[in-house]
């Protein structure tokens, strides 16, 4: 018989060593599969993947910006997850924020000064994201509805809403897209720093990471979130208002997703489409889980995911491989990483004892 037994706490150094070792094993397995499936030299393929993320300063900056955007969404989901509120509505909350930003840019672009416009965009997108998360939070707090389904459904509402406004604001008419907003005036575009258009996003998210780390681990509200997540009845026992904490935390979660929407529309894409969130609301779930909801470790997990995805498109173009091949490699590596967590927490014991007592007496 196979039994799964929970391990005693493992020393940190050992568990880190195991995790790093496993990534090494995963790379070897990926290499073997690459060699068998494509006949290419795995070392060359890996080199190309690294090229994809770090091959030129431009690529490095794009990589950094993408990591920052994914990290921003992951940070947004984290307070909700720490509370065991499974916010799968990141996608919709980003879209809501992006829609609000785009609306400000289109409707107010030539009416207010640029600094004021960006401030208004910030407020509007944060409010829109917060609203998108507050609705399911309210129903969870009041009627104990299932937050997973509710937040997921809100994604579709947001997508349809964006689809509607893409047609309303389409430019040029009949194109079915909005095109680049305020191409001439650049109104509402986030400013460049020393000529670098990516740096601002990276800096903002870096600040946010530290802020979120402090908020979750050292603030009173962060403490309340942990207590509610671990044991709602303990929370009530010490006088924490559980429903208030749920709504407040989701407003923060949604607001940060909305902020990510503004970074996407005002900072990088300068347009609005229904696919502008590009699955980040879901990828971020994985990033947050891999990091065990620790904002600092999320820098690493979001970096890994973005590195793999950039590498995947690079090998797809260089070797003429299907884009899916990169996804296969990503999948293998993630499988190994997640699998390790199981073996770090549990160990498998083989035994032949089952039913012995019955046989002895029978």
């Amino acid at each position: 018989m196979i039994h799964v037994v929970k391990r005693k706490e493992m020393p940190l150094a050992q568990s880190v060593a195991i995790r790093l070792g496993v990534i090494g094993v995963a790379l070897v397995v990926c290499g073997i599969i690459t060699a068998i499936a494509t006949g290419l030299n795995p070392i060359g393929v890996y080199a190309t993947m690294i090229q994809g993320s770090f091959g030129s300063p431009r690529k490095v900056w794009i990589m950094l910006q993408e990591v920052a955007l994914l990290l921003c969404v992951s940070l947004a989901l984290t307070p909700a997850f720490r509370m065991k509120f499974w916010n799968l509505g990141g996608e919709g909350q980003i879209l809501a924020g992006g829609l609000a930003s785009a609306a400000c840019m289109i409707l107010l672009g030539d009416k207010v000064p640029n600094a004021a416009l960006i401030a208004i965009m910030f407020v509007a997108s944060v409010a829109a994201g917060a609203l998108w998360a507050a609705v399911p939070a309210f129903f969870k707090a009041k009627f104990n509805t299932n937050e997973t389904l509710f937040t997921l459904m809100m994604n579709y509402v947001a997508t349809q809403l964006v689809a509607f406004y893409v047609i309303v604001w389409e430019n040029p008419k009949g194109s079915g897209t909005i095109g680049v907003i305020n191409q001439q005036s650049s109104a509402g575009w986030l400013p460049t720093i020393a000529g670098n258009k990516h740096l601002l996003i990276v800096l903002l998210v870096a600040l946010l990471t530290v802020g979120m780390y402090v908020y979750l681990n050292y603030s009173k509200q962060g403490y309340e979130i942990s207590v509610v997540g671990e044991s709602p009845s303990t929370a009530r026992y010490v006088g924490i208002k559980v429903s208030k904490v749920i709504v407040r935390t989701l407003i923060i979660s949604g607001a940060l997703c909305g902020f990510a929407g503004m970074l996407l529309v005002g900072g990088s894409a300068h347009t609005l489409t229904t696919s502008i969130a590009a699955g980040r609301g879901f990828t971020a779930v994985m990033v947050a889980w891999l990091a065990k909801f620790n904002p600092l470790i999320m820098i690493g997990s979001s970096g890994l995911i973005e590195f793999m995805s950039h590498g995947a498109s690079e090998i797809a173009t260089t070797y003429g491989l299907n884009q899916s091949f990169g996804d296969i490699l990503t999948g293998i590596i993630l499988f190994f990483i997640i699998g390790t967590e199981f073996f770090i927490t549990y160990r498998v014991v083989l035994s032949h004892n089952k039913g012995k007592s019955v046989e002895e007496l029978g």
Binding site: Q221, E224, S226, S231, Y237
Partner: protein
């Protein structure tokens, strides 16, 4: 005295869980056409014993005979094959299924499944015994009593002729209890053997033919119900008084004042069952007021109502700040109570689920009560760390460090952490529920000592306990609850175990013969 050959005999059954001996050398006969009441206090091993009959546990030693033949019951399926069915306290039904679907769930009949035939068979069972259940009703539409009926029919449908009911009336209203008993009598008359686990004496008298008593895991004896008096049964259940030598200083009469006045308190639970019925009492400063009662007599609701955690139907709970100022605690939550300056400490029954956060370390658990202090949006762990160290030192908590999650500590140490934190707040009222449950002797005496020190400091201590010997030696006064009503308040120094035992099982106490 044996008139029929027993349907089931248990011989010398023992079972232990780790160091706890749940059953010790228990032998018991169950006859057909008879209702046997299995009586005993909380933790006396009734449910464990029956779980071995229904295949959930396997005895460490001893054996079971059915119709004189020795059998092995290794799983619930084996039990079913021998016609043994148990109705547990917590129902195991699928909410979105109908009664019929739940009843046939898990059956492995060959061939195509015929739901219509099953429904008519269920209807037939219901008609035979007088069950009131609609086979096509969904479980989520059912009352607690109807769900219980479905569980019973489920067992009968599978051909059980020995039925075990684990405290079936705990969730029922008196009318529903009468209905259940009527059905049980029909089944008995049909020749089935019925065991009912209970600690309510009036029900034992009402339904059973024979009563077997367990105490601390051991079989104490049995009686024919019609020949037994309530007093005899109580004596068998609680046993003779044991001297524990717990310290009980006399209350300081000079400063004694009324601290908490509960008047006509009535509480209903979420299912609308009355848990506290018109309860009135006063708790004084500098005394330990014990609350005795069979488990589920309203102790939990009473403490939680005082602590602001339990919605109240009617009545009042007054807190005397001093001779002039009186605060009403009803309608307050724990935060509002604390804001009024009332330092009310509460050691709840569910230590890790309610009093502490298991995954958090000692420091963070100390912070639960104090984290709001100060205007800074950030927490201050310095004081909590200090308090954690203090509690570890003073109460001799055995822990690797104060950064260990409390769920990794043993039960006694968990309780020390919880009690230590609650006492550190310098309370004026200390509520405690089953404060020594699961604790070893040394830890228990440490807790008694801590409670006595609080009493010496003028705290109004309310101690909900289950061990009568402890209550009798520790408490100044004992309030006895029976079915949510106050059965009486007695002086801890002069009362006897039998008196309290009778009051627990019968309103107002006293013998009925």
């Amino acid at each position: 005295m044996q008139v029929t050959k027993p349907a089931v005999s248990m011989h010398g059954i023992s079972k232990s869980f780790g160091a706890v001996q749940a059953n010790k050398n228990v032998s018991l006969d169950i006859n057909r056409g008879e209702v046997l009441a299995l009586l005993g206090e909380n933790g006396s091993g009734k449910t464990t014993l029956m779980n071995m009959l229904s295949g959930i546990y396997y005895p460490d030693s001893g054996y079971i005979e059915i119709d004189g033949k020795r059998v092995e019951i290794g799983s619930p399926k084996d039990a079913f094959d021998y016609g043994i069915g148990m109705i547990h306290q917590h129902f195991k039904l699928v909410n979105v299924f109908t009664a019929t679907e739940n009843i046939v769930l898990g059956l492995k009949d060959k061939g195509k499944f015929d739901l219509a035939a099953a429904t008519s068979k269920i209807q037939q069972i219901c008609d035979t015994y007088g069950f009131d259940v609609d086979p096509n009703q969904k479980v989520y539409d059912m009352s607690v009593s109807q769900k219980q009926t479905v569980e019973i029919v489920k067992v009968l449908y599978r051909g059980a002729d020995l039925l075990i009911l684990d405290e079936p009336t705990a969730v029922l209203t008196p009318q529903e209890t009468d209905k259940l008993f009527a059905v049980l009598r029909n089944m008995r008359d049909d020749g089935k053997a019925i065991i009912i686990i209970t600690h309510k004496l009036n029900e034992v008298k009402d339904i059973s033919d024979r009563v077997a008593v367990l105490r601390k895991g051991e079989y104490v004896g049995e009686m024919v119900t019609s020949e037994a008096t309530t007093a005899e049964m109580t004596n068998m259940m609680v046993g003779r008084q044991v001297t524990l030598n717990i310290d009980r200083p006399d209350p300081e009469m000079k400063y004694r004042m009324e601290r908490i006045r509960v008047k006509n308190l009535t509480v209903k639970n979420r299912e609308g069952v009355t848990k506290l019925d018109n309860v009135s009492f006063t708790a004084f400063t500098g005394e330990i007021l014990g609350i005795a009662g069979i488990s589920g007599s309203g102790q939990k609701e009473l403490l939680e109502a005082i602590a602001g955690l339990q919605p109240v139907e009617s009545g009042s709970i007054e807190y005397n700040v001093d001779d002039e100022q009186v605060e009403q605690l009803i309608g307050m939550d724990p935060l509002k109570i604390a804001d009024m300056g009332v330092v009310l400490s509460f050691v709840p029954e569910d230590r890790l689920g309610m009093g502490l956060v298991g995954s958090m370390d000692l420091t963070d658990n100390m912070m639960l009560r104090s984290f709001r202090r100060g205007t800074s949006p950030l927490t201050n762990r310095k004081e909590s760390r200090h308090l954690a160290e203090l509690v570890v030192d003073e109460l001799e908590v055995s822990t690797p460090s104060i950064s260990t999650p409390v769920s990794k500590l043993s039960g006694g140490n968990v309780q020390k952490v919880l009690v230590g934190r609650e006492i550190a707040a310098a309370p004026t009222v200390l509520l405690s529920a089953y404060a020594v449950r699961g604790l070893d002797v040394n830890s228990s005496y440490l807790i008694y000592d801590l409670l006595n020190r609080q009493k010496g400091n003028g705290v109004a201590v309310i101690y909900v306990g289950e061990d009568l010997d402890v209550l009798l030696e520790l408490c100044d006064r004992i309030l006895v609850l029976c079915g949510g009503k106050v059965s009486g308040i007695v002086d801890g120094r002069t009362t006897t175990k039998n008196e309290v035992g009778l009051m627990m099982t019968k309103l107002g106490g006293g013998d009925d013969q």
